[in-house]
Symmetry: C2
Subunit: 209 residues, 2 copies
């Protein structure tokens, strides 16, 4: 199946638009387009409506900046969640990953990225000032930094940690790094293994909640 | 990244619609949706417009049933193409594949499928009657059967061949089957290798056009 000899400009245009999706080349885009052509109109209508709604109707939670249908997201508006523990994450996918573990009952704060001068992302591009305001106005007792273990993530961790030092009653923690469950020690990288020895925990803590 | 804990019904709806595309699961669909959310409005608008146009404006060539922007496709309306040689193919992808070889200067006839009782596709679901009409009304000298080498393709080949026997002046051929260029004989399947020996061609023909 070749894409450089398409018999229709409309098809070509659709292929070009679809191939902008991440990881989708012209060939797969053509497969999508020809698949859609074979479907009944309702199928394309459903997709088009969903895409239009996605752009026009979706909101970001005014408190934690997560994706939401309303002004306040389901996590923030849930009275059963513990508002005193705030988990700071890079993006929405991280919220979903942590939610999926069903191990966290606090609330989130989505930064929208990490400090990365090379990508032109500075402190003012992230929701860091909002986080400080939240701690000043809400009854926050613990901030969990759950940013990626990259140089950018570490820089952001360090910056936020310094900003939070003025709050005496707020504990700042970071998620545990170490050998993944099910991993063999011999295949772990040296930095992770080294840190997991330095940051060893009392055995009786392992099965604690 | 988990998809069973999406914080927004609008996002969930988009993920469900996108995951209907062939080969796309919920995870990839979520990646698409979050990617689209980050893009400027013009990007989604472009995709939406392309999809709407695809369904409303695309036509099928009245002569060969290939996809087209006009009533007659670019191949059929090109005066340089040889209208006396008609290549019969299963679908539009096959037209593009053959066009891409730049070895064929005739015109096409797209059947829209092959005879397949198990999928409920019979003779009347395909553009076979149209092909007969074309041969009766146009000055066709050769019909090349380029259907897939499956049982369904062979059945369709056989049926069309029988229908064409009443035309004395029309030659019916089929594309050559054999060992693919660059393939080793030891890895070829027995049927293909067996046929390629039975249907051997004079050596001087190999480099002929």
């Amino acid at each position: 199946m070749a894409v450089d000899t398409l018999p229709s400009r409309i098809l070509e245009n659709t292929v070009n638009e679809l191939s902008k999706l991440p990881g989708i080349g012209k060939r797969t885009a053509l497969r999508f387009a020809l698949y859609l052509l074979k479907q009944p109109s309702s199928e394309i209508d459903g997709l088009v409506t969903a895409l239009v709604q996605l752009k026009s109707d979706i909101k970001y939670c005014k408190r934690c900046h997560c994706i939401s249908d309303d002004d306040i997201c389901p996590v923030c508006s849930n009275p059963k969640r513990d508002g005193t523990t705030v988990c700071v994450v890079e993006n929405i996918q991280d919220v979903m990953a942590i939610e999926n573990t069903q191990q966290f009952n606090g609330v989130y704060h989505v930064l929208g990225g990490v400090i990365s001068p090379i990508d032109g992302i500075g402190i003012n591009d992230l929701h860091i000032a909002d986080l400080i305001t939240r701690i000043e106005t809400e009854n926050v007792k613990e901030v969990i930094l759950a940013l990626p273990t990259t140089m950018e993530g570490d820089t952001t961790n360090f910056y936020i940690h310094r900003q939070l030092q003025k709050f005496d009653n707020v504990a700042v923690s970071t998620i545990a790094r170490g050998i993944a469950i099910g991993d063999n020690l011999e295949y772990a990288d040296e930095v992770t293994l080294g840190r997991s020895i330095l940051n060893r925990v009392p055995f009786e803590n392992v099965f604690k909640r």
